[in-house]
Assembly symmetry: C2
Homo-oligomer: 241 residues x 2
DNA sequence: CATGCAGCTTGACTTACATCAATGCGTCTA
DNA sequence: TAGACGCATTGATGTAAGTCAAGCTGCATG
């Protein structure tokens, strides 16, 4: 619990006051331009656990920035099963993959009680045209997204994939000012397994093995990394070297 | 050979004249603004087979648009082996994942004799700030990239992955005005296998199986799709339904 | 407090695919 | 036109991880 991402935060804080400003869209934005961004950002009431933000195939209108908690985006693959494309932490954007097709290609759900800022994309595009640093940051975040997605398709054993997943979460938490060793996973084993393309049983067995070899300590969704270096070695340092 | 992507094309054609304009950056661009884009696009002499365009870790300067032939982008994973992130066809951009880190994260190589347009990213960013439709198209292409990358991480059998790969190529060729049934793969089995995270032997066995069951006909890199519908069914329609 | 239920763990068994190894085929060079 | 080299094919074998099935744990609900 010590490191739990706050599940409710000062909800209607403006960008200029938001502590996520240094990770989110406002990066590099001149304070005098901040209010223009604030004007198009729509603060919403928090979402309940598993509540849907948007639905695949729905017309694209807004992108979302996580304010607190965590969200997951899920695609329906053709054979009927779902695949979790990503988990999104505070300061991260989601819904960007909808820009090209102009409709959402994934559905987004809250994990626990979580909140977002919603931003009308047309407005954002218009504003980015006026504010070069906003345009720059938007492109930068999109590029990061491409890179993250590409990194996922690397050939790895289940062990490496899980170790990498934990380390990636850890470093993202750290960036956000939370502990990088005590992490609340927020999601069930099934979701981790689904995201990493493995069976939930495999995740369970691997966590056991990691725990037995003294790499970490886990109880339900409460995870503590004990031996970060060993974990990095295991991951092949793919993420956080 | 009938459908070979031209390995050499009118090399120093300007954007306004280039037949790829309807897929590439100029989409939606007002003809009167075209010359501004043309001014920052640098036409280069063609690359020879396997010639390097840029190298991972090199400082990011330019993004590239394929003019003719094909390019592959390759990342060096931590354990020393390489992974082919993507193959790029005419009208597609590559190097976009370098925007965020400001250095190339992959290396790019030509497959066969191929050519590109190089575009200084700073100039492009500046121009996009002035031309809303260019900005829009740039974001759109980035979004498409995110989506493509995400689609790759779906849980699939080797059979589904290979079928999907062929269908994706087919539909991309079709978009470009080439046959969608007669395709020159350009790359060896090893590269296909690497890209799809499987052994080259598996690719070989699968091609054999596809051929035996009358789905396609393949001889080295010359591929003909015989039963498109069956192939789509096999792929689970993940790509081109 | 008992009951249920969802999520997690653990074990036994199966399988898809990788790996290893040998052979075949095409193209380039001398 | 012989040799060699790179790439593709084919077969035999091994293994990581999936599937199936049973039991466990702990939170929620009446």
């Amino acid at each position: 619990m010590s490191n739990a991402i706050p599940t409710a935060s000062p909800s209607f804080l403006k960008c200029g006051q938001c502590s996520l400003g240094k990770l989110c869209l406002p990066v590099g934005l001149d304070p005098k331009d901040m209010n223009q961004l604030e004007d198009i950002v729509e603060s919403q009431t928090p979402y309940k656990d598993q509540q849907k933000v948007y639905q695949a195939s729905q017309a694209f209108e807004r992108i979302y920035a996580v304010k607190s908690g965590m969200f997951k985006t899920v695609v329906n693959s053709s054979n009927g099963n779902e695949h979790i494309v990503g988990f999104h932490l505070p300061g991260e954007l989601f819904g960007l993959d909808a820009i090209y097709p102009q409709k959402y290609v994934s559905s987004a759900y809250s994990l626990g009680t979580s909140s977002v800022c919603a931003i009308n994309y047309q407005d954002l595009e218009a504003l980015a045209g006026k504010l070069p640093s906003l345009q720059k940051q938007l492109m930068s975040l999109m590029s990061k997204e491409v890179h993250t997605s590409n990194a996922q398709s690397l050939e790895q054993t289940a062990e490496q994939k899980l170790a990498t997943f934990i380390l990636t979460l850890s470093s993202r938490y750290k960036q956000r000012g939370y502990s990088d060793t005590r992490i609340n996973l927020m999601m069930p084993r099934r979701d981790i397994a689904n995201h990493l393309n493995m069976a939930a049983e495999t995740v369970s067995r691997l966590f056991k093995r990691f725990q037995t070899s003294g790499l970490l300590d886990i109880k339900r969704t409460e995870l503590e990394i004990i031996d970060m270096e060993a974990l990095k070695a295991l991951a092949g340092c793919a993420s956080a070297c």
